[in-house]
Symmetry: C2
Subunit: 297 residues, 2 copies
């Protein structure tokens, strides 16, 4: 029986080690900027995107080492997006994973710049890997392009913009899923896809894993919204019911809690179907897909 | 006699056309986000960084077309940095080039996201060029790496952080130049360097042009600070003397106006020396170096 807990722990440890190496010793300015960047980066994230990237590489016969720069870049981008989303002008959150948000622990200007620094560092890490990692440099250019597309104004940044603009407005489930696909789905999808690409997957394998990524991206957001209704605040690190208080439109608020759960399960089932061709190698991805809707934080 | 005015005009026009093409028709979401990005991008910048990139390519026998994606990326990054620097939590400026700043014309959240979108788009443009432009993809990876380094937490973002932290403090001329080198110098230097690299320059040519870029980067910031003392507000698009009112430490405030002018001239002379090997092909860069300290805005 596949031990997901041990798998997550070991891949988290590898990712954290790689992330720490990014600024170890090499930094000529151990400034508040780097401190703020590291504060948010090391604030206890699940490393879901890096782990998906690594697991996708393993599913196609690659290794974690092959994709580690991409795994790090994805976490840098995810962390920057959290810092900017938490800002007073955006979601105005004081807590993130139970700790003060970056602009609370430092100040607003530092938080904006820390986000900018993390986003830029993501592309530096990818470009550096493409130059030094050996192999085909155009593969790294492709991955860099896909990640930039997923993170930018046709992906995550656009999703956050839509999220702010629909506040308090009536939207349909379809509109909500478009928004969530952009805001969190595209980066999760591209995490899986780049893992498959850099791990040496065939075009068919890459397509299957990208589809898997798309399904779990939506399931992940639904699960988050469900946790906001019935999770334990001491485990999820933020107040339960905050979406309802802020009148935030979510899957559960639109179609009800039970239907939202059924939809999340259906999405995970679709994701699992994409994995059938990978046999045993797909086990970590299958377990990750189930974990996404069974997790408690 | 080389006609700089005509040269600037034609290269500006080419750059603007390339920048406009980035979102023409292809955008599935003609959203306020894209509007805000374009608002700042089209607010009448001098396009100094793209023109330096093109001129450096021409100096080594390349063309503007060879480097246009890099020229665009540099302007996208420059524009993002202006949007974020103008935010209330940073320099809190209401006007930029005589027009409302992005967060005034839109709102703060939109301005933060527009900056994020422009920064991400810069790397998307570079990665896309590396895949489609032909030639050696590893050259584009190198350029992408250099630009990310220059823009990030060891370059421009760090410079802005230092700029905020020294406000009202006593610093030396050396510290000021380190700060300015990071804040504006590195991106100007890398504009010239990437132009030389993508234009096909020899290692010696690239080194000479990078040194040229470093000198004019510092001269440019000094000239800006001098203009803030004695420029015409209706031409520079912001109040004259604002640095003094905000007790901002600048070259002129540290060493006096006359010495600051002498230092700017010396820097331009050093830049011109690096161009001697380029003969006629270096004329645009020579004229640009002189223009940097002779301009009125």
């Amino acid at each position: 029986m596949f031990d997901l807990k041990a798998y997550l722990k070991s891949r988290q440890r590898e990712t954290n080690a790689a992330l720490e190496r990014l600024w170890d010793g090499t930094e000529p300015f151990p400034t508040p900027l780097i401190q703020a960047m590291r504060y948010s980066l090391e604030a206890g994230g699940k490393r879901l995107r890096p782990i998906l990237c690594i697991a996708a590489s393993e599913a196609v016969g690659g290794s974690g080492t092959d994709v580690m720069p991409a795994a790090c870049a994805l976490e840098l981008i995810h962390t920057y997006s959290l810092i900017h989303d938490d800002l007073p002008a955006m979601d105005d959150d004081d807590l993130r994973r139970g700790k003060p948000t970056c602009h609370k622990a430092f100040d607003e200007a530092t938080a904006i710049l820390a986000g900018d620094g993390l986003l830029t560092a993501a592309f530096e890490v990818l470009a550096s890997a493409g130059q030094t990692q050996g192999g085909d440099p155009s593969k790294w250019l492709e991955v860099l392009y896909l990640i930039a597309r997923a993170a930018g104004c046709a992906g995550m940044v656009q999703g956050q913009m839509m999220d702010l603009s629909v506040e308090g407005k009536a939207i349909t489930l379809e509109e909500l899923e478009t928004l969530q696909q952009l805001k969190t789905g595209t980066l999760i999808e591209v995490s899986v896809k780049t893992g498959a690409l850099l791990g040496g997957g065939t075009p068919q394998e890459v397509t299957a894993l990208a589809a898997y990524g798309q399904h779990i991206g939506l399931a992940f957001q639904l699960a988050d919204d469900i946790l906001n209704v019935e999770g334990k605040p001491e485990i999820i690190g933020k107040p339960v019911g905050s979406d309802q208080i802020h009148q935030k439109i979510t899957g559960p608020s639109l179609i009800g809690l039970e239907q939202a759960k059924a939809r999340a399960i259906a999405l995970v089932d679709s994701a699992l179907e994409e994995l059938t061709v990978f046999d045993m190698r797909g086990e970590p991805l299958a377990a990750l897909a189930r974990y996404i809707i069974e997790r408690t934080k």
